[in-house]
């Protein structure tokens, strides 16, 4: 087994007022990659993040992270969140209101560490001027930068981002996407990003996994093989039954191989596509599928 790869193989019944299905996933996280997880609301993306973070105990299965077994229901192994090397950024930031920016970061600092990393993070995230400010005094974008910096203070093996930019306006989102990519590369992180925004995924992710009703319906859309680029140049509308409805963007004709699939379609047109393999996908005939 390659110890640099993290793997999650688990199942969990998700049952509430909105949904009732089994989450069943088998996914790998490669070292230093930024993996995006996307799909409709309620498809189980956040549950996967919570399983990785140790915040969801009910999942059956096994989780290896870079050579360490964090969870194995068969052996009764479950590392608490405190024992996992993770950094989590929640959708609502979850900054501690009673602590200043600096205190939020210091709270996360292990006793054996000195302040150097905090000073560095404050500088990298452009927070030096704000370190005495309290969360209430910060804008959404500033709070998000603090949350990102705080998540890195423990030098985590995994950085888990749960729709971190969803509450921000487009301009701020683009600004912060730069910070996420910068941190990911600077600290050689393995990052899982949950996002609904195709442009955000296109800009940040090395690989994309699409989920629907607890299952992975497509994956391996790597930057190298480029269909992700093509796919994400389109506007993502709705995954359904293993297909994804997209509205084609303007630049699909620049893509060499995959573009042929769209030869008969016009930019702006809506089509259903199905991933066949990492390199191939096909346009589904909607009429036939019905």
């Amino acid at each position: 087994m390659d110890h640099s790869i993290s793997s999650l193989n688990c199942s969990l019944q998700l049952k509430d007022s909105q949904r009732s299905f089994y989450l069943e996933v088998d996914l790998q996280l490669y070292p230093k990659e930024l993996l995006a997880l996307t799909g409709p609301s309620g498809s189980g993306k956040t549950t996967i993040l919570r399983i990785l973070a140790g915040l969801e105990k009910r999942a059956k299965g096994r989780l290896w992270v870079q050579g360490e077994l964090w969870q194995d229901s068969a052996q009764g192994i479950f590392l608490a969140p405190q024992q996992r090397s993770i950094g989590v950024v929640f959708q609502d930031y979850a900054l501690f209101p009673n602590m200043s920016v600096l205190q939020n970061l210091q709270f996360a600092l292990p006793k054996t560490e000195n302040q150097t990393l905090i000073e560095e993070l404050l500088e990298v995230m452009d927070l030096q001027e704000l370190k005495t400010a309290y969360p209430r005094e910060l804008s959404g974008g500033q709070q998000q930068r603090v949350a990102l910096a705080r998540a890195l203070v423990r030098r985590p093996k995994l950085l888990l981002l749960d729709e971190p930019l969803s509450a921000l306006d487009t301009q701020m989102r683009e600004h912060l996407q730069g910070f996420i990519r910068l941190l990911h590369e600077r600290y050689a992180l393995t990052t899982l990003l949950i996002s609904h925004h195709p442009e955000e995924i296109q800009r940040l992710a090395d690989r994309v996994i699409v989920m629907e009703k607890g299952k992975i319906i497509s994956e391996n859309l790597t930057q190298e093989t480029k269909p992700a680029g093509l796919l994400l140049s389109a506007i993502w509308l709705a995954p359904q039954n293993g297909r994804i409805r997209v509205q084609l963007g303007d630049n699909e004709l620049q893509m060499p191989e995959p573009a042929k699939a769209f030869a008969d379609y016009l930019p702006g047109q809506e089509v259903w596509i199905r991933m066949v393999s990492a390199e191939r996908f096909e346009v589904c005939d909607e009429e036939k599928l019905r």
């Binding site: 969140p81 989590v88 501690f96 009673n98 709270f107 203070v153």
Partner: protein, 224 residues
């Protein structure tokens, strides 16, 4: 002298009860706020029971349970040398039970109104449940904490039925202010009753003013 002893006893009872309620109430409110158990409504009903039961009912059952004639009361007296009926300790026990919801409910509400991921964020930063409670959750529910303290204290100061049933009316031992007022009125000694009553009004008023002052400051501190 009897007047001051009675007042001191009342304040001592309220103070001891409030401290015990804080120690018991924080973990119970925390559990109630975060539990997903289907038994949660049952636990909540148990905590709230003293709100709706007549104080004399609680006092009556405590009297029966801890009387030296009962199995429990006899066992406590013979084995642990503890006698709860007609003693200060008995008053404390009755007051703790009677004022329980006044501490637990504000705290539970405080925990439930915190941003949902605050505790989880602390856990993912490597902090234990205890550190999370002490450094993250409690500082952010300070107004609820103050409410619990003030309500429990004031409610204990004002209680009558429970303390009369379990404590009786023994000067300097179980005779608290509310019982003294009742006693003086029964003896048609209105001047003495008024002395107690007026002192209670003034003390309670000052206490509440201090509470609102601290509460405002702590809210400013949290939201600044």
């Amino acid at each position: 002298m009897d007047f001051f002893n009675t007042l001191l006893l009342t304040l001592r009872l309220a103070g001891v009860t409030t401290v015990i309620l804080l120690v018991l109430g924080i973990p119970i409110a925390y559990r109630l706020a975060y539990t997903r158990s289907f038994l949660k409504p049952v636990f909540e009903a148990m905590v709230s029971l003293p709100l709706v039961l007549p104080p004399t009912v609680i006092g009556f059952y405590l009297l029966i349970a801890f009387s030296p004639n009962s199995a429990l009361g006899e066992w406590l007296q013979n084995n642990l040398d503890i006698r709860l009926v007609f003693t200060f300790e008995g008053l404390v026990l009755g007051s703790v039970i009677y004022s329980f919801p006044f501490m637990v409910q504000p705290l539970q509400s405080g925990f439930e109104h915190l941003p949902p991921h605050l505790a989880e964020a602390s856990y993912t930063l490597g902090k234990s449940t205890w550190v999370t409670l002490w450094r993250v959750l409690l500082p952010n529910i300070r107004p609820a904490l103050l409410s619990g303290i003030v309500l429990s204290f004031a409610h204990t100061v004002g209680e009558f039925g429970v303390v009369l049933m379990i404590g009786g009316n023994i000067p300097s031992v179980t005779r608290v202010a509310s019982i003294a007022i009742y006693d003086e009125v029964e003896a048609l000694n209105f001047a003495a009753a008024n002395q107690y009553a007026l002192t209670m009004v003034v003390l309670t008023f000052v206490f509440l003013v201090l509470f609102f002052r601290f509460n405002r400051r702590s809210q400013q501190w949290i939201t600044r």
